[in-house]
Amino acid sequence: MATRPLDLLQGTLDVLVLRTLTWGPMHGYAVSRSIRQRTDGVIDIEDAPLYKALHRLEHAGFIAAEWGLSENNRKARYYELTAAGRRHLRAEEAVWRQYAAAVFKVLEPT
């Protein structure tokens, strides 16, 4: 068990955000909570880079944003995966799995 949260690897956050949004449209806060819960606090995620990632992905056309009403009836910005985002996620996922597998192969005792 790690005592200190790990730093985020470059590009990892984008994949995490896209993956999170496959659950459906959600606002930034929900994305933030969801990622934290699913990583069990192992990875240290600040919200500032998260929001930067959301807007960057919007600019790239991988996600689309729209204003909507939150669960408690407040105006919130919802993000939704676009078709291009879905394709991008699939590609990134494959790269990630290969990468992880390669790392595991090295770490695995022979």
Binding site: H27, Y29, S32, A64, W67
Partner: protein, 887 residues
């Protein structure tokens, strides 16, 4: 909950400030949610906020970063959305236009006709009227125009002495004396070209440079100078193969040798059709006061650049007044004024061209009106579609843009076909240009014209295409939807607009039709005129004997040999020669006096046209000898000179006396000792100047007694006249190959070409009138058909209540005829008002000719009947059940 998706509904574009505000909203939502959650876990609000901010990280950095990214995103989206909207508009418009092929075809054909005709005609007019001649500054190059006692006059050799010495406002003047040049080529063949004898300074006044060689030097127009000639680029290329070595060669012209010194660029010839220029060398006798009465030339001048045209005009007028003062008899009421070269050349072309231009602009107007109407009809039919799109979030701008796209697409396709039509039209047009309209033949399609015309059509399409969109958007979505395409107020407005447009179209068509009708009737009248001579089976052939080579004996021998040999050609009935053939534009006249009558002043002496003929002339031409005898073989040198006169001459000068046996003295060469000669016969009148012009008093003399170098051989034949051309030509060639033969035509062809201009104008205007009529009929049909389709419900009720189909169709036709009546009324008023414009082009018909106007109304009524009957038939077949259920 699912938020709305941006792709389908568009929010307004965000400014930089809005982007920042949105970001703050988003961030504060996040922090608030986090604070609430932490407070719920038991933290104090302050501690909760502190933790939320800590978890967030560098919030200012995020603000800067996100602000920049979002601004960029926004711009990119704006661009892509615009492009996709445009593409959407185009594909949508194409789909919509394909879905209504009748409308699309009608609109495109209408536009193509309007644009095509307009471009073709405008190119011609632009070329002739609007483009300055290539001698800048063109308005400073002027011709002197003389009038005497209200009649047009020309220049005497002394004018080229008087004006240059007295005028201070001019750079200079040059004489222009037309000169028939028989150029003998190296292979010995002769060619007759349009030559001109000019002052040595002509080309300096024109301010042009020779293509090769040089132009005249000072003094080359003085007696004693050697013979030099300047050729046109055309002649130089045609006859000298464009070889520069032609410069310096000698060429035989009118049996004299000339040295070729230069070549004039093709487009800079002046006079515009000249081929050879040579200096005019005046004799001492010509440059004396005796020649002030002899007038046959013209004068070109250039006004100094720093002098106003008005001042120059005043100066020449004052000079002409002072000359009258010095020579009150000869120059009685003789005035000079200046006229720009362009004005001078275009002169009598101007009016017909402007009339044709007006006709074509009317056609374009009608075409635009038609397209406008079609678009309006279409827009009304699409009100529901527009309302639905508006309700789904399409803004007014978006709807306008959509309709604009359709209009532009129509205009572009119409214009493309129009260009094709214009090209075709120009070819046909130029193929039928009568020979007199030389300038027109140089015209070619003009891109500026095309652009201008297309813009007009485009503007019309845009204007009327977007009007309905404004209306729909203005009325509001709910109203339009509720209206469901029926009975709303906006409809009444478009309905009125449509009716007004159709009435306007019909009125324009009537105006054009009356113009065309008048021209057609006038042309028929003209063609019905008996020319006074036989036109069928007479062949005419012009030739010119070089004066220096043929003295009067040689001339007589040539004529006798030619007549003998021509008579021997199989198929030839009779042969004659004359100096000026009727309807050919040539001819001259002299003053004369009758023995026993006294005239107070020399200027009171009457004048008559004079023609020289051989004995068989009257027989060959079918001109009757009314009294006395004709010219006989015995009327030769040595025998007393005899004259024949025509009936007009008798009516004018011997209304009560017997002309036969009277003696008259013609001023042949201004010799006061010319003998009085007897009138021995009276012959029928011949329309020699033009079918539309009254015959002039004419004296016929014997060619043998008065030889003339320019000759026309006339041959009457039972065979096809054209088949004689070759044998006759070779006879002349055998007699003397230096005698050029030209203008071989039957008399029927001469009659036809004498009315070539009228035929040309008439055909054009008639063509435009026909197009206008068709377009107006289509417009009327469109409006009535649309009205019927809108009233299906009402008509159904009428049928259900017992209206017969007869009655329904009468009602519909009556509506069409009511529109037609108003349009025709307005059109007739316009036609009457415009009548004076065409009056000068008419012959034997007044501009208010009731038969023409009645005919126009009848034609229009018939066309209107058909245009309203078609929709009426549909209205009459309305099934009440279907009609009422259909709503």
């Amino acid at each position: 909950m699912r938020p709305p998706r941006r792709r389908f509904f568009r929010l307004p574009w965000r400014t930089r400030r809005q982007i920042r505000a949105d970001l703050e909203t988003e961030l504060s939502f996040h922090l608030d949610m986090r604070v609430e959650a932490l407070v719920a876990l038991g933290l104090s609000p302050d501690a909760a906020r502190a933790q939320a901010l800590r978890e967030f990280g560098d919030i200012d950095d995020a603000r800067r970063y996100i602000g920049a990214v979002d601004t960029d995103t926004e711009a990119a989206q704006r661009r892509s959305e615009y492009m996709s909207d445009l593409w959407q508009d185009i594909t949508y418009a194409a789909r919509k236009l394909r879905a209504t092929p009748a409308f699309t075809a009608a609109a495109i054909v209408t536009l193509a006709l309007g644009i095509g005709a307009n471009t073709a005609i405008f190119s011609v007019v632009d070329h002739v009227l609007l483009q300055a001649p290539p001698f800048p500054p063109a308005n400073r190059l002027v011709r002197l125009r003389f009038t005497q006692q209200g009649h047009g006059d020309v220049a005497t050799p002394m004018d080229i002495v008087d004006y240059p010495t007295q005028a201070k406002d001019f750079v200079g003047f040059s004489i222009i004396d037309s000169w028939t040049a028989n150029v003998v080529l190296e292979n010995g063949d002769a060619e007759q070209v349009r030559g001109v004898q000019v002052g040595a300074n002509l080309f300096d006044l024109l301010r042009i440079k020779p293509l090769h060689g040089r132009f005249f030097r000072e003094g080359e127009d003085k007696a004693g100078a050697s013979n030099v000639v300047v050729l046109s680029e055309q002649l130089w290329r045609r006859d000298f193969g464009g070889d520069e070595s032609a410069i310096g060669k000698t060429v035989r012209i009118n049996a004299r040798s000339f040295t070729i010194i230069g070549v004039v660029p093709a487009e800079q010839r002046y006079p515009f059709t000249a081929e050879a220029w040579t200096p005019r060398v005046f004799t001492a006798q010509e440059l004396s006061d005796d020649s002030r009465g002899a007038r046959w030339m013209s004068v070109l001048g250039r006004v100094k650049d720093d002098v106003s045209i008005d001042a120059a005009n005043t100066e020449v007028r004052l000079i002409s007044q002072s000359m009258e003062h010095r020579f009150p008899e000869t120059y009685r009421e003789r005035r000079a004024q200046i006229l720009s070269v362009q004005e001078f050349t275009v002169g009598d072309l101007k009016k017909p061209l402007y009339i044709i231009l007006t006709a074509v602009v009317l056609v374009l107007l009608i075409a635009c009106a038609n397209v406008a109407n079609l678009l309006l009809v279409r827009a009304s039919a699409r009100e529901t579609e527009m309302a639905i799109r508006s309700a789904l979030g399409a803004g007014r701008g978006r709807l306008v843009r959509q309709l604009m796209t359709e209009s532009v697409m129509l205009s572009v396709v119409g214009a493309a076909i129009g260009i094709g039509l214009a090209k075709l039209g120009m070819t046909v047009l130029l193929g039928h240009v009568p020979p007199g309209l030389v300038l027109v033949q140089r015209a070619s399609i003009d891109s500026r014209t095309l652009a201008a015309t297309t813009l007009v059509a485009l503007a019309a399409g845009l204007l009327f295409g977007t009007l309905p969109a404004m209306q729909v958007a203005g009325r509001g979505v709910a109203d339009a939807l509720r209206g469901g395409g029926r009975g709303a107020q906006g409809k009444a407005i478009t309905g009125r607009a449509k009716r007004a447009i159709v009435i306007g179209e019909l009125a324009l068509a009537v105006t054009l039709l009356s113009g065309a009708g008048l021209l057609l009737r006038s042309f028929n009248r003209l063609m019905a005129v008996d020319p006074g001579f036989r036109t069928e089976s007479v062949l005419s052939m012009k030739m010119a004997l070089p004066q220096s080579k043929y003295d009067s004996t040689g001339h007589r021998i040539f004529v006798r040999q030619l007549l003998e040999r021509a008579a021997a050609v199989p198929g030839v009935g009779s042969v004659a020669m004359t100096n000026f053939v009727p309807l050919d534009g040539g001819g001259y006249g002299f003053t004369f006096n009758v023995r026993g009558r006294t005239y107070a002043r020399p200027s009171d002496e009457p004048d008559a046209e004079v023609r020289q003929v051989t004995p068989a002339f009257f027989n060959t031409m079918g001109v009757p000898i009314v009294r006395g005898r004709g010219i006989q073989d015995g009327d030769a040198p040595g025998a007393p000179t005899v004259y024949l006169v025509n009936q007009t001459f008798v009516k004018r000068f011997f209304p009560t006396e017997n002309p036969i046996g009277q003696f008259i003295r013609l001023g042949w060469g201004g010799d006061p000792n010319e003998p009085y000669c007897e009138i021995v016969g009276v012959v029928g009148d011949v329309h020699g100047e033009g079918l539309g012009d009254a015959p002039l008093p004419t004296v016929y003399a014997s060619l043998a007694q008065h030889p003339f170098s320019s000759l026309t051989l006339l041959v009457r034949t039972s065979a096809s006249p054209a088949s004689l051309a070759t044998p006759l030509r070779s006879i002349v060639h055998d007699l003397d190959r230096e005698v050029p033969v030209f203008s071989v035509q039957t008399m029927a062809e001469r009659v036809a070409s004498s009315v070539g201009r009228q035929r040309f104008y008439t055909t054009l205007v008639a063509l435009f009138a026909a197009v206008a009529l068709v377009l107006a009929a289509v417009g009327l049909y469109g409006v009535i058909a649309y009205a019927v389709s809108q009233r299906t419900h009402e008509l159904g009720i009428r049928v259900a209540l017992g209206a017969t189909s007869q009655r329904i169709s009468t009602m519909v036709i009556r509506e069409g005829l009511a529109l037609t009546a108003v349009g025709a009324g307005l059109g007739i008023v316009a036609a009457l008002a415009a009548g004076s414009v065409v009056a000068s082009l008419l012959f034997g018909v007044t501009p208010r000719d009731p038969i023409t106007l009645t005919g126009v109304v009848v034609v229009l009524a018939a066309v209107a009947m058909v245009a309203s009957w078609l929709p009426a038939r549909r209205a009459a077949r309305v099934d009440p059940l279907v009609a009422m259920r259909g709503e």
